[in-house]
Symmetry: D2
Subunit: 290 residues, 4 copies
């Protein structure tokens, strides 16, 4: 297996991410929600936390629509220094409040080693974004914290490189890593990136870690997202991460790829049918919102 080619160890099978090292699936428990088990997990929310009102309203609609975990960016990696960069700690506080109101655990991105402690204080799952796949100091820091890590594939990363990057996290002692395919860069211009769903069966074969898919960032168009969410589950993904905005046209970032609340609720119903068709189910929230 190619993942072993850059191996300085005597035996390739000793990679911590490898299914040869650990044949059974890793199941990650986030406040009772199991990621990587029989049940499909739905993560949803806005690209960025823009305001208290926007986050709380979106949190309620994704809860009602069937989301199990709330996403939202407080620190935003943006191509231009003049684009909205996120609300920082203020955004983390709103996420925390949204968790209290809905009961949904939260996931938010950390970009800077110096912010790891701060983000960990608020979040249930740390996200490491696509642009940070090869930020090795950040990976090592994530490996030292005691939170699950949602680790996105880099848009230019091969699957071999992706697994070796995940190894950086496990090697520091944290094996609670959720892999996430989110599209790779190709010549095709109709979509923002090309969602590489083949990565799902490949990753499931090579590693014991759970694999989810983010069709929103990959495609860049909200009308493509439902088809790709269903395809992801049909291909064996353990969950999906969907961008939803209570008013997509007003979004400060990634509006065109955000679903309207109604479309999200329909997507969850459609995804459930696919989950059942592949012998799985979707996780239903037990707890009622406050």
């Amino acid at each position: 297996m190619k993942v072993y080619k850059d191996n300085n160890q005597s035996n390739g099978e000793s990679y911590l991410v490898s299914r040869q090292t650990k044949p059974d699936d890793t199941v990650i428990n986030v406040n009772g929600i199991k990621i990587g088990g029989k049940e499909i997990v739905i993560i949803a929310g806005p690209c960025a936390v823009e305001s208290r009102k926007q986050l709380l309203e979106t949190a309620k609609v994704v809860y009602s629509g069937g989301a199990n975990i709330l996403r939202g960016g407080a620190f935003k990696p943006r191509t231009s220094p003049y684009s909205f960069q996120g609300l920082g700690e203020e955004g983390l506080k709103y996420l925390s409040e949204a968790r209290n109101e809905t009961g949904l655990p939260i996931v938010t991105e950390v970009m800077d080693t110096r912010k790891m402690e701060l983000v960990c204080k608020y979040t249930d799952i740390i996200q490491i974004g696509s642009r940070s796949m090869h930020n090795f100091p950040l990976l090592k820091e994530a490996g030292k914290c005691n939170k699950p890590v949602l680790f996105k594939r880099g848009l230019m990363g091969t699957i071999d490189e992706y697994l070796l990057a995940a190894e950086y996290i496990l090697n520091e002692g944290n094996n609670q890593v959720i892999l996430c395919e989110r599209g790779i860069r190709t010549f095709e211009t109709s979509t923002r990136n090309t969602l590489d769903l083949s990565a799902i069966p490949i990753l499931k074969r090579r590693t014991h870690l759970p694999v989810i898919v983010d069709p929103s960032h990959a495609t860049g168009h909200n009308w493509i997202v439902p088809a790709m969410a269903k395809a992801a589950i049909a291909a064996g993904a353990d969950g999906i991460m969907i961008e939803v905005h209570h008013k997509p046209l007003d979004a400060l970032s990634d509006g065109p790829q955000s679903l309207y609340p109604d479309n999200f609720a329909q997507l969850v119903k459609d995804v459930e049918k696919i989950a059942i068709a592949v012998g799985r189910s979707i996780y239903h929230n037990i707890q009622s919102p406050a």
Copy 2:
């Protein structure tokens, strides 16, 4: 819509492939099998026709497994001039015999304008392969024949270019075109190409033509094929094309991506569940084999 950008006509909407020109789905009838309707169509068979025995045996197993149409190459485009180039007309005759024995219509590739008449004499559907997407004289010739055309996306073709290439066929008077996503070339090396399933919802939105998916050539590994076949149907494809060999290890071309007969039969059962989950069904052969 970008597809209109190279337009010399006064009005982009007049493209023959465009859904704006023809809002309702084109349904192509091949010996009673409807491609592009509610029912999913399964095309299967070996990469290449290697011998009479190989083809007839494989034809029987794909018929039993649930295939509706038989595929097999008589003229093979091969990277090296020293690789097996196909049996030519002899292969076409075996295909014809396999149709007689199983009742399955056949699809086979034509690479050369000068062979169009010969291939049309034998086949039910003409295939234009990925390497020929921009072979404009061949497209024009296919536009002049009265057979349905299974037209594969080039591995380097954007969706815009692909639709404009299909326009060459329709512009000659043949609107019986079946589009086929079969993977695009990217930097990822774990798969032969990267299957671009986002192309399905995009094509279904932009054009009225049916869209099928070939996960065998895209991935290059038979163990990835079932997951991607299911994903294709979940994403809205009208059919799938699967490579099956009665003895994959003996195949003269593309053995590693060919399914064993048993795996193919299981794949069809699994695909049917997905078809039902998206409100469709799969086409069941009425006719019994001779």
Copy 3:
């Protein structure tokens, strides 16, 4: 060397394109102009032959500017069926007339096996374009004619595939093949394609065939062309092919990448300096125009 991996022969070294088979450089003589020798050859002309007047005027300015061979398309592969497709045989006649007036040999593209004989009747060098790299019937036909073949790399072709495609031509008995790097498709959008100049030293090491570069199609912008023409010669190319139009703003195809006559003449002077710096020279026309 990877070029041998698809080898059905007992010994990789027997590939006809391989430098191991033929260690000394192949030098191709076109009406006294030697391609692949010490002298750099300059090919120039319009993308398409648009009219008698346009071609003759452009032929004169490229002759004056220092071109050794005239290029111009009579049969144009175009993405859309509604774009200008070339003048066909009429264009070939104008090319022939331009040769008579300037003394420059001509190169023009053939896309269709059925036009090979016609094109050979008029041209000095047959061009096989980027979109035809994997049109195997066309390659075989080119291998049977007794004209030099300017064979462009496909925009999606690896170097290994490119050499194997060239092998199709040599295998039919024609070893007068000029390779041409013209850009590959990548994610970068500032240029039409990405000119892969690394292909020059790689091709020169692997094969004995001459290698030229077409920076016009690769970059798509005339202001990038001079820098890349110089770079190509610095990297070891045996020639360059440049699009020039006597009035780029009026061009029916590829206007933005066509050089103005003055810029072309300057480019030739600048390229000559680079040629000398790498121990070569450029070919100077002996014959005066009629």
Copy 4:
């Protein structure tokens, strides 16, 4: 110009990297060596600092061969956590010693915001590597230090994104940024990456910052490096960065792309000829080694 598309400012021309904002070339002075002026600058050294002996020996041979600046990694970003990760501060000390012995200024990579102060204490130029192109916290930190920054293009970065990433550095007050093309990821497998030399004329047109080229990382093979170094200068680069190892076969990283000392000395001579052919010269060290 596309670089402005993500602009939140009222006027695209106010981008700090833009040549419209600052029409004249930025020339960066490093201990008297001017980068971005008429003279070509040669940076050379090993991929990684492996030992005191290795660095000092290589420093001497690159000095003798004509290098103006010494490169060497103390903190190495490696795909696998089990590969050699660099000597850290010990490596910085050896670099400092090598500078004292040869008089050559040094450039070394920083990957972690928390090491910025440490690296700045030792180095003359801070390098931000390809994998860090979108590490925005690191870019901001580099923008706050008072050292020149050698900022490499990401292997997946478009030119537009690259310039916007550089803007992060300038926006913090540091306009001493040297851009560096080092290859982009494509489907071609003969080279490690595809060196995009078209980026040189494009960057020189869009920005006032100096542009250098690293052909060693781009190609991955030492025998391709000289051709691409010459091509880079022919295309208008202001300098080149070359990996040299006193014993490439013993290198702990990137041995196959490292030049032997003799080849490096020859490369500098050949590059000088190209520099003269394009009306420039190469910088000759004034100071003698200690």
